[in-house]
Symmetry: C2
Amino acid sequence: MEDAVEMSDGSNVLIVGSVALDNVKTPFGEVNEALGGAAVYSSVAASYFAPVRIVGVVGNDFADEHVGFLKSRGIDVAGLQSVSGETFRWSGYYDFNLNQAHTLETKLNVFQDFRPHIPPQYQESDYVFLANIDPALQLQVLDQVKSPKLTVCDTMNYWIDTRRDLLIEVLKRVDVVFLNDAEARQLCGTFSLVKAANDIRKLGPSVVIIKKGEHGAVMVSDDAFFAAPSYPLEEVRDPTGAGDSFAGGFIGYVASTDDISEANLRKATIFGSTLASFNVQDFSLGRLSTLTQQDIVDRYCEFRRIAHFEPVE
Amino acid sequence: MEDAVEMSDGSNVLIVGSVALDNVKTPFGEVNEALGGAAVYSSVAASYFAPVRIVGVVGNDFADEHVGFLKSRGIDVAGLQSVSGETFRWSGYYDFNLNQAHTLETKLNVFQDFRPHIPPQYQESDYVFLANIDPALQLQVLDQVKSPKLTVCDTMNYWIDTRRDLLIEVLKRVDVVFLNDAEARQLCGTFSLVKAANDIRKLGPSVVIIKKGEHGAVMVSDDAFFAAPSYPLEEVRDPTGAGDSFAGGFIGYVASTDDISEANLRKATIFGSTLASFNVQDFSLGRLSTLTQQDIVDRYCEFRRIAHFEPVE
């Protein structure tokens, strides 16, 4: 059983995105200056499956223990630029509806002038995840990597509003795109997520994955539609990083198996859901930092039971 | 294959609820004075699986062709009271967000004084569906039926607001309850649908089914959680009656198999989703009136493909 989620010695994952210190408050508690950022959540999630290289930027206030934690997960931090100034900070809260983040403050700090520099030894990475950053920067990453086996990108409402043309350039060049339901509707100007997914596929990506929070996720590809359930939790303590953990679990599993068949991408979607479901059970990286391979396999099996129904006879 | 959805000669279904004439407008068109009502949608959906008896009330303006249509589906209309006055009418519309009905006008008409009278030959019905009506009337039905094998009820936000105590009496006495996600949250005062479902089970029903429209449905029972996907439609032409078709498909399938095991209730949930997915593809009973058994089996099999993912090896 455990073989399926054993660390691969072969294919690796390059992840580019934000590294942050977050202040987060939810009905279940709060954290201050906690490790966060899309690249961190996705790298840690992916690290359960495959060797990960992270590219991002931190200020000189970024604690050594955070770097030590990433290294302890086997993440290669040679691409983590450390520059003078303060690390990117995000403050936000969630109330009754944990699907909806409310931003109190965003301080870009050193992230403001971030230009992704992909070290030479990363340029032939097998799998590339462009976490949610300015599409202009995502294009710069794509210019630097050499024929990866699969490229995956994420984005957000802000870029759809302000950088639509550049985002569409990115979509032309990636294989898989992740969006949440609101972003898919916004990008396509349609309420139907099925129509939105099909419209987005026409822009370039052969696979569109729409994340729906508590409602699971759907993956749309050539002639195939896959609906993944969410994991039933009575308590979501902190949804921050759920989408990033999802993406990290997804691309990490794909890298560990080196298999981009539709059937395997379905499994990857469930592993993504698995990592996301663990992530929201605690603040910051609280739960993702303590997982075992057996935890992951057990939850994957639970997803199988949740989704199972018999054929007609 | 077709056996699974073949009409049962044995167990039957009693359905009590509204019979209506609807004016509905959606971005895809409109209908006026079209046949509708929860008892009609659910009876027609159930009629693909098992013999159905309908109890409701219509005015003397109710066209013979509507009665003829119900009879053509094998539905026993001896419990359909015809009284002097006008039939219940509902006018509403849907815009961009087809999950949200906007009511323009509700004229209860003869439904105002409806008291469900269960004819003697119906009192030993095997399966009972209490469609969305005043919980006081649902209790009257429960008082009249003799040890059914399974009782199922639906409700709506209005009764949760205005008749909470009576609704809770109903919940004590039924086996299965259907709610949509907003209603479950409203009833329990919690955002978590998992927690809401567990709270509702403590009120009585051993099975809680939460309908989530485009996000499918979840069924919560003893130690088991089942997530059913929705069927991916680019166009939902008219969502009216989706929940009722779901309930009808569910209880009809259970009656046809006479099997209330959790595994079979999962199948019933998918058959419910199947009937609901057909229903929303046309206005009124447009699509539900033209289905074949093969259409139903084919779509059930599509649901299997949509939900399928491989085990970890």
